[in-house]
């Protein structure tokens, strides 16, 4: 099924009896049963005001179209979603897809100002709005961000945009072991350098990104290089191509892939147990790890891991109260359980 309007979509959901699988470009979906409900017919940017840093687009609008419209005005999505070919903005929102700049600029959910969605009973609901600050009523925008279509089919998203910084440089340190990798990132992130990306490439090499006005970037790069002296000579590279490598790691992965979110202070111990190719992002708070199907990470308290390519797995299991609340919300927004299996 492929609705052409929000009303169409609501009617289709009301009429549906079996499970539905809400999709956009299908680039971030997990395997699930159900009839495909393709939202790519709900497309188009409905409002873009660069001077208000605001863009509103229907869910089926290709991410590439959004990025192109923004780039034409010198703006971008600060949360840096990976540009999977065919990906839609609704899919980005429904999976809270967020790249390396999440470290400083926040996730997709932090840039989402408003949503429209259709619940499992076919109700059209609007929440949030298009302004930067809004505490009017509950923040269902956050609830829908990353909900993977389990509470409703997102039909429209209002996003906060950001100026493209005029200058970008990458500071690169090579030859550091795990302990010194983490110590170098911590030094960079604890000082007044305004680092907008911090990670370690799959081939090794700690990368730190600085962005902004030319004079500012130059002076911060100098100060940061000096602060990193104990870790070796930081090579300063123009641009930030290394961060595209980090951002796109999951797209390029071979075989089963784990996404591990943890405290940076837990990263060194985690890195020591990884069985294969991996990358570090978010200053050590995100680790991507390729691993054989029978491998599971041993997690310290608070850390979370999910296998995003291969047999789905999530560690640890949600606690009883979280599970009860989640089930309760799903029962309210989708009482017939037609938004089946994407949890």
């Amino acid at each position: 099924m492929r609705p052409d309007s929000e009303d169409d979509l609501a009617a289709m959901i009301r009429a549906a009896s079996g499970p539905l699988r809400v999709t956009g470009g299908g680039t971030r979906s997990r395997p699930a049963a159900g009839e495909v409900l393709d939202l790519r017919g709900l497309a188009g940017i409905t409002l873009y005001e660069p001077e208000a840093l605001t863009l509103i687009a229907r869910a089926g609008t290709p991410l590439a179209e959004v990025e192109a419209a923004l780039a034409a005005e010198g703006q971008m999505l600060a949360f840096e979603p990976d540009p999977r070919p065919g990906s839609t903005i609704g899919g980005v929102a429904a999976t809270n897809a967020s790249g390396p700049r999440r470290l400083s600029a926040g996730a997709c959910r932090d840039a989402m100002l408003g949503v429209r969605f259709v619940t499992g009973t076919g109700e059209i609901v609007r929440n949030g709005g298009r302004v930067m600050k809004n505490v009017t009523g509950y923040d269902l925008v956050k609830l829908l961000a990353g909900s993977r279509g389990t509470l409703g089919a997102i039909t429209e998203v209002a996003l906060k945009t950001a100026p493209i910084p005029p200058v970008r440089v990458t500071l690169r340190l090579d030859g550091l072991d795990d302990a010194r990798t983490m110590a170098a990132m911590m030094a960079a992130l604890s000082g007044p350098y305004d680092v907008t990306g911090a990670g370690r490439l799959p081939e090794g090499g700690v990368v730190l990104r600085l962005e902004g006005l030319p004079g500012s970037v130059e002076s911060r790069a100098k100060a940061l290089s000096a602060a990193l002296k104990p870790y070796g000579h930081a090579e300063i590279v123009q641009g930030d191509a290394d961060f595209a490598t980090l951002r796109d790691f999951a797209m390029a992965a071979q075989g089963p892939l784990w996404r591990i979110v943890l405290r940076p202070s837990q990263a060194e111990a985690m890195l020591a147990q990884l069985p294969g190719r991996h990358a570090v992002d978010w200053g050590g708070a995100l680790i991507w790890a390729e691993a054989p199907p029978d491998w599971h990470p041993a997690l310290r308290p608070g850390a979370r891991a999910s296998r995003v390519i291969g047999a789905p797995a999530m560690l640890p299991e949600p606690d009883a109260v979280t599970a009860r609340l989640t089930a309760g919300l799903r029962a309210k927004f989708d009482p017939r359980g037609i938004f089946g299996g994407q949890a």
Binding site: G137, R304, L325
Partner: protein, 485 residues
Amino acid sequence: MQMPAPDAGVIARRDAIAARLSAALADPAAVITDPTETRAYECDALSAYRCPPLMVVLPSTTREVSAVLRICHEENVPVVPRGAGTSLAGGSMPTSDAVIIGLARMNAILEISAEDRLVRVQTGRTNLSVTGAVEGQGFFYAPDPSSQLACAIGGNIAMNSGGAHCLKYGVTTNNLLGATVVLMDGSVVELGGPMGEGAGLDLLGVICGSEGQLGIVTEATLRILPKPAGARPVLVAFDSPVTAGACVAAIIRSGILPVAIEFMDRPCIAATEDFCGAGYPDCEALLIIEVEGTAPEIEEQLTLIREIAEGFALLEFRESGSDEESRRIWLGRKSAFGAMGVISDYMCLDGTVPVSRLPDTLAGIGDLAAKAGLRVANVFHAGDGNMHPLILYDANKPGDLERCEALGAEILRLCVEVGGCLTGEHGVGVEKRELMGSQYAPADLEAQMAVKDVFDPGWLLNAAKVFPLAVSEARRGARRGQDAA
């Protein structure tokens, strides 16, 4: 202010309920029933509306909050959570059958991790003292509501508080990584996690800003940031508020992101001059723009801002050359609310509009005020469109408060019409509850109430807030065994 009729049955059982609560707490004196003492809790910063609570409980731990809520749940007693009582929207205003759970004793720092750039606190801790605990290590907590000396983190989370510097650093929800939440039935749940990510749905995101209606947050993990190398404000004076508003949009459009852009108009400037003598220029409107960084970085940004501002018929561009000059530039802005209070009673609104609509919204507010025959002063966070029109009135003049409230409602409807919202950072509380229908359709409110149904099925927790009373009546009535139809 209409509030639901209190439950006489609960009031009649007051002493028995107090005895059960005292028995559950390590310090029996943490339960307060003496009417002279509970009077201190009859209102928050929306002091026009008051009602002493049934009793006040001041627990010291998450475990005690859990025990208190479990008992209140069993006894079917309404509960109103309270941080420091600085809500401008009546978020912690009680009813006479309600138990207030105050967080005042829960102010411990539980953990500081420079390595993970976070601090974990009990939520009775004041906002400013969080920064106080981490600044020795070179960090700060970014959200800075103007009440930050007094307001509690728990209240900040309930209202998703903002502040002057959120243009760059975001509001509470963007700086909250985790929370320990006690639900109305006493169950305790840890939400969030590293980078704020929890298991599955973003329950932390929906708790933040839910005005204490879904659970009581007892502990919070907050993101801390390295202190910037320096900061410097400039003051830019204009001959019209509309020009100042247009200049804000041009600065945002240029790609420079100052940490703060604050706006004041003539009535507000005049009042603050009389109050604190900050030495502001004689002008129709001014902007205070603050940028951060090292000295050369600050210069670079200010040069660009000056170039933009010069395109808008500016009267003066006053750069701070010292800490003392910076202090004086901020002095009038920081004194604005106090200064207005000296010359008049006022009501402070909190609507947000798209930055692109600032000039015509300012003009529209002027028209509405003239029509109503009331004066309005404007002082607000212009960079993110979060307006704070102050409507001046005379509380001793019969009918003036009502005229003021009617004008306030019209201004907020104007904010919604131009694409904005009723409240940007103060919250809905009781104050704007009845206006919710101007921003949200019935289905939108129903979806929000469905969330409360899940977290607090009995609608015991702060239930007479946020939603228009008529809209939430069936759910609240069901608690009392009334006809829910």
